[in-house]
């Protein structure tokens, strides 16, 4: 098997090279690194309330990025990802409280639990396609919710509070949770980017564009989709664990609520399906809307739904799509372009 090139430039025959990075992306890379460094130092300069908001931001970003990976790239439109949010939350509860494992290690283990459960889940859910696959994932999420609600050890229908958290000083815990959330959010974006740069990314695009053709060319459609589903499950469970590390009170109705999916969908649709930049923009818009409209009750959700519908019908590529069309920017370049090294030579 030939080595997959990981550097941005690859020698191609005939005096051309394959290039991915653009000037804009290089600039943004530097800016991004600076931003991440500043954010990592958050505990030094930000108020506690700001840190809490940012925890919500980064975990939602992780969720949205994972949903985008599934739906925008692998063509798996799941409305059951809340299953993994819930599993992450209850995994945390179980390992930290019941088993007494280190609190922060439990977050990681909760993520792994989600990935493990994703294996039989995918085996069942993949028997369905399209819209029926979507509902199927929802039903499975409901099953997990009902099963968990019936386990009294985990608090049954009324839920439990994470007691292991009280072992730590409040401020220290907040800082640690924040760093964890930042890691999960940034990590999700980085993982998505790395996955899509490699052969997997090309495979996914091929599957998305023309599945049957991709299959005939040797792309392992099932295996590829399966892998992506597992990664997304891991990411969502991790995010779920961090969310409830922050919220502390875990209830099945809330942890397995369809609202998580509603938020993921809204964020990705507004930001731009099938782009890595999309979820970032979408999460920002979502938080701005949430801050300004939270007093309006159910009208806020009506607006979210209406915007999602309108964007899907009229501006299918979302906000980032509009920007990218105008400027040609690509902050997370995954497309490979053939660049002529000696443009003066004729064909």
């Amino acid at each position: 098997m030939s080595a997959t090139p990981t550097s941005a430039e690859v020698a191609a025959p005939g005096g051309r090279r394959v290039q991915r990075a653009t000037l804009a992306s290089r600039v943004w890379l530097i800016l991004g690194l600076v931003a991440v460094a500043v954010l990592a130092a958050g505990p030094l300069w930000a108020l506690d309330s700001v840190l809490r908001t940012l925890i919500g931001f980064f975990t939602l970003l992780a969720l949205a990025t994972m949903w985008n990976l599934l739906a925008g790239y692998a063509g798996l439109v799941s409305i059951g990802q809340q299953a993994y949010v819930g599993l992450g939350a209850y995994g945390l509860l179980y390992f930290a409280d019941t088993l007494g494992l280190n609190l922060f290690l439990s977050v990681l283990v909760a993520g792994l639990v989600g990935a493990l459960v994703a294996i039989p889940t995918a085996a069942l859910a993949f028997r369905l396609r399209g819209g029926y696959f979507a509902i199927g994932t929802w039903v499975i999420a409901e099953v997990y919710r009902l099963v968990v609600s019936n386990v009294s050890q985990l608090g049954g229908g009324s839920g439990l509070t994470l007691r292991a958290a009280s072992e730590y000083d409040r401020t220290a815990r907040l800082f640690a949770t924040y760093e964890l959330a930042l890691a999960v959010g940034v990590g999700a974006v980085v993982v998505a980017y790395v996955l899509l740069r490699r052969r997997l990314g090309l495979a996914l695009t091929a599957i998305r564009d023309a599945e049957a053709s991709a299959q005939s060319l040797g792309v392992h459609v099932f295996r590829t989709k399966f892998l992506v589903y597992l990664v997304a499950a891991f990411g969502c469970s991790l995010a779920g664990a961090v969310i409830y590390l922050n919220l502390l009170r875990v209830q099945p109705e809330a942890a397995f609520s369809i609202n998580w999916t509603a938020f993921m969908i809204f964020i990705v649709v507004i930001g731009g399906v099938g782009t890595i930049e999309g979820p970032i923009i979408g999460t920002i818009v979502f938080f701005v809307l949430q801050e300004t409209l939270s007093g309006y009750g159910a009208w806020y959700l009506v607006l979210l739904g209406a915007v999602a519908v309108l964007v899907t019908l009229l501006a299918r590529r979302g906000l980032w799509g509009l920007v990218a069309d105008r400027t040609g920017w690509s902050l997370f370049p995954v497309q490979r372009r053939l660049q002529d090294l000696h443009p003066s030579e004729g064909r």
Binding site: R129, G130, V143, I265, A308
Partner: protein
């Protein structure tokens, strides 16, 4: 021998589920579109019936005469004005996104307009009347009526599909929509009629449900899930499969609830998963779920 009673009650419940599932199955059969707002639309019908009954004191069953044509119209316009655009290009994402968005919009609009209070439609004595069959078995009039209506609707739909010009247009468009256009069939109108019929049937289901139990703005999704499970259990591509699936689901839930009250719905889910695992084409299905 209470299980006989349970099975019978389950069958009667199943008739309602089959009624819910009919519209979902039709829309998928004709245009491969899964309407995630399907359940919520049944609740809309229930609320419209409630509004009528609050203004004009009639038995809720009479509201069917107004609500069903109204919902047919809503379905036609919805498909023609919005959902048809999601079907272009063969991308599976837009239909899911738009119908999901609609579901959220409907639920929250209903919540704002009607509040989260539990509502019910009062059909009077027919709700409680029952036929005594034996010492241990009594069959309620209303559930029986529901089952009969469910079977009648399905039979009617089967007749339309197999014997009428419209039905042939449905099937031809489902087989090959490009060639169907060569036959002079207007896709856009065919799809709109299909959605209209789907919403008309789900309106009946919603009103019946409103009479039988209480409803709130947020129970739509649960109805959708039951309808979906009925379709998958019975098998895609088969009208009578939808009936069979509904009946099986109803029985599974009723028997499950006997084991433990919280287990009814879960039992239904487990049967659904079992069918998905061991017989993905469903009990009477003709094609692999796709």
């Amino acid at each position: 021998m209470t299980w006989v009673n349970d099975v019978v009650q389950g069958l009667l419940l199943g008739g309602l589920y089959a009624l819910f599932a009919t519209g979902l199955s039709l829309m998928f059969g004709v245009m491969r579109l899964v309407n995630l707002a399907h359940g919520d639309l049944s609740i809309v019908a229930a609320f419209v019936a409630l509004a009528i009954v609050d203004t004009v004191p009639v038995n809720p069953l009479w509201t069917v005469l107004v609500v069903v044509p109204l919902m047919f119209g809503v379905g036609y316009l919805l498909q023609r004005g919005m959902l048809n655009y999601t079907l272009r290009g063969g991308d599976p994402l837009p239909p899911v996104l738009v119908t999901f968005g609609l579901s959220i919009i409907i639920q929250n609009l209903l919540l704002e307009v009607f509040s989260a209070d539990s509502q019910g439609l009062d059909a009077g004595r027919i709700e409680d009347a029952s036929i005594r069959i034996s010492d241990r078995l009594a069959v309620g009039w209303f559930p029986l009526l529901t089952l009969v209506v469910g079977i009648a609707v399905l039979a009617g739909l089967q007749l339309v599909i197999s014997r009428t010009r419209l039905g042939r247009a449905f099937r031809a468009t489902s087989d090959d929509q490009e060639t169907a256009r060569l036959m002079g069939i207007d896709n856009r109108a065919v799809y709109a009629v299909a959605t209209g019929i789907a919403l008309a049937t789900v309106a009946i289901a919603g009103i019946v449900l409103g009479i039988r139990t209480t409803f709130t703005p947020s129970v739509g999704p649960t109805r959708l899930i039951f309808a979906f499970e009925a379709v998958v259990i019975g098998g895609l591509g088969s009208i009578w499969g939808t009936l069979a699936g509904g009946l099986v689901l109803g029985v599974a839930q009723t028997l499950g609830a006997q084991i433990s009250p919280g287990w009814g719905v879960l039992a239904g889910h487990l049967v659904f998963l079992a069918v998905l695992a061991f017989r993905p084409t469903g009990l009477l299905g003709r094609t692999v779920p796709a």
